[in-house]
């Protein structure tokens, strides 16, 4: 157990580096751009009717204050970081005067729920089926499953979501295709609302699962089909061990470690997929919030959602990394 603190320290440093680079990237993109968000907002406001120059000057002043674009670049940089650390991105322009952080907090449970549920289902199911396919290589069903996985896996999230939308929205309209829950229900822990939430989440979750399944399936299958040729597996077979026990405790147990690392590495990509899937199905999470904020020209909201997603995904990776020694105890011996 001695090496675990050192491992945790290393992971925490990596987490800090990711957040530092990510937040700096967001600052750099927004401040190195040739387009001034303040002038953009002003021109959007003043395009209808005439506004007095005094009012425009006052507006410019308060918008600069609001966006944290006041003073020198160094001052702006410090303001930016203090806002990130306080979680305060000012009021949203499209939903004035609701603070950006309130909007994000409202959307976050939807995204987190959808993302965590579908990722866990995908990972467990994909690895289980992939492990079986790698071990029982003669099974025809599992072979067909491999072909299907290969066919669906490379297609981007948007296309799969669109196909599901067409199939279940137009051709065979049995599932709700938009929103997070029926509008006319009292939000809370009552059965009509919860069942409505579950029903509405089927299609977004299904499109995330369909795509994700392929990569875990294919990865696990090739890992397992390499491991079954190892001497210790052959020895177990000769010793007459139950084949299910060989598969579960010797083969798949060893293949699990790289798949956990893989999960940490692909979390960002899964999040990207969730953003677009949410938008396709009008799911009220941060993805829809982000895209709508761009359409509305809401600077604070776009920046806020971007920063929060960087923080959220790196936090998710950190959690997986900290749990990793449970799967692979060798970490503690290094």
């Amino acid at each position: 157990m001695r090496a675990y603190p050192a491992y945790v320290a290393k992971r925490l440093v990596q987490f800090a580096v990711v957040v530092f680079i990510g937040v700096n990237l967001a600052f750099l993109i927004t401040h190195a751009s040739p387009i001034d968000p303040v002038e953009q907002s002003i021109s959007a406001v003043t395009s209808f009717g005439s506004t007095s120059p005094d009012a425009i000057a006052a507006m410019r002043e308060s918008l600069q204050e609001l966006y944290g674009l006041k003073g020198s670049l160094t001052e702006q940089y410090i303001t930016f970081w203090s806002r990130v650390l306080r979680g305060d991105f000012g009021p949203s322009l499209s939903a004035f005067p609701t603070p950006v952080s309130t909007l994000i907090w409202r959307a976050l449970p939807w995204t987190a729920g959808l993302l965590i549920t579908s990722t866990v289902i995908t990972w467990v199911l994909g690895n289980l089926l992939g492990g079986l396919a790698g071990y029982y290589q003669r099974s025809r069903t599992l072979k067909v499953l491999g072909v299907v996985a290969m066919g669906i896996h490379p297609i981007p999230y948007y296309i799969v979501a669109l196909i599901l939308l067409v199939v279940f929205g137009f051709l065979w309209p049995v599932l709700p295709i938009t929103g997070g829950a029926a509008m006319n229900l009292q939000q809370g822990w009552n059965w009509p609302f919860v069942s409505s939430v579950l029903l509405h989440s089927i299609l977004p979750a299904l499109s995330l699962i369909l795509i994700g399944l392929g990569s875990w399936f294919l990865g696990m299958r090739s890992l397992v089909s390499n491991i079954v040729t190892e001497d210790y597996v052959v020895y177990g077979e000769i010793a007459g061990l139950d084949s299910r026990r060989i598969l579960a405790s010797y083969v798949m147990r060893n293949a699990l470690a790289p798949q956990v690392t893989g999960l940490a590495m692909s979390l960002g990509g899964i999040f990207n997929g969730a953003v677009i899937t949410e938008k396709v199905f009008g799911y009220p999470g941060v993805g829809t919030l982000l895209v709508d904020a761009v359409y509305a020209g809401d600077y604070g909201l776009v920046l806020g959602v971007t920063t929060v997603s960087i923080l959220g995904v790196s936090l998710g990776v950190l959690v997986i990394d900290l749990l990793y020694p449970l799967i692979d105890p060798r970490v503690e011996l290094r």
């Binding site: 990596q14 990711v18 040739p34 968000p37 938008k279 995904v313």
Partner: protein
């Protein structure tokens, strides 16, 4: 080179299917050079005509022939994918080879940055780019941005090979014979990692085309350049699905799915060919 191709076609079903799909896609892209209509013109044919002998894949609500529009779209989409792949290969090679060969603090710093780019969700970053650039966001600029974001995964792969090359005898021989670092990397190590570079190119193209389609569908790219995502964007703008103009969406989706599956199968079969163990198993040799 030809012998490799012959072996792959003879022994590998995935490669045969992938190759067939990509050839169809390439022929489509090539046909754009003989298109009777310029890509940007609208109302050159009667709008909303279903697929028929006169208009094979129908026409759009904007009065464009879906077939010829599709040839331009797939050409631009493929060009975009190749641009991103080429640029990001250069970054991945430099970072991967340098980190693997140098080791020490150079390796640690490069891999820290590398892991950051793997972890960070890139889609919000790309949306942020579009948000601040707006109309200045052109297709080549988007390609440069995506290449700058999408090299990390492959750099890690190249580094792992470079790490093992470093301990090989020929590396020491070349170092002792006075070759400089960049000479060792480009003349001695580069040939060994080229096969991986080829197979990651396909996967990287899938990644970048997928993101481009997604961004274009939302209207976050230069929507006046016809691309596959751009076609779906315009179809959505004209509510093609509700209006029953299904061919405007179905054929771009079909073609881009063919591209994705084709590129993926080529990458998978190449990966398998690179690994001699699985190649022998496939050819019926000893396991």
């Amino acid at each position: 080179m030809l012998a490799i191709l012959r072996d792959l076609i003879r022994y590998n079903v995935e490669f045969r299917i992938g190759l067939a799909l990509i050839v169809i896609v390439l022929v489509m892209a090539g046909l754009s050079f003989v298109s009777p209509y310029p890509p940007a013109d609208v109302y050159v044919v009667p709008p909303d005509v279903p697929p028929s002998s006169a208009y094979w894949l129908g026409t759009t609500s904007r009065g464009q022939d879906v077939f010829w529009q599709l040839t331009f779209a797939i050409r631009n989409t493929l060009t975009f994918g190749i641009m991103v792949a080429a640029l990001s290969r250069v970054i991945a090679l430099v970072v991967g080879l340098l980190a693997g060969y140098s080791g020490g603090w150079i390796d640690r710093v490069l891999m820290s940055v590398n892991d950051t780019f793997i972890i960070i969700p890139l889609f919000p970053i790309l949306i942020l780019f579009y948000f601040v650039l707006r109309d200045s966001m052109s297709t080549p600029l988007l390609a440069v941005i995506m290449a700058g974001l999408g090299w990390a995964y492959d750099a890690r792969l190249i580094r792992s090979v470079a790490l093992s090359l470093k301990t090989r005898e020929f590396t020491e021989t070349s170092a002792f014979s006075g070759m400089r670092t960049h000479e060792i990397l480009s003349r001695e190590h580069l040939p060994y990692v080229l096969p991986i570079v080829f197979s990651t190119t396909m996967n990287n193209m899938n990644w970048s085309i997928g993101l481009e389609v997604t961004l274009a569908v939302l209207g976050f790219t230069d929507i006046n350049t016809p691309t596959i995502g751009g076609m779906i964007y315009w179809a959505n703008q004209h509510t093609a699905l509700v209006a029953g103009i299904w061919w405007w969406i179905a054929f771009p989706v079909l073609l881009v799915v063919m591209t994705f599956v084709g590129l993926f199968l080529l990458a998978v079969s190449m990966n398998e060919y690179i690994d001699p163990r699985s190649r022998l198993a496939r050819m019926g040799g000893a396991r």
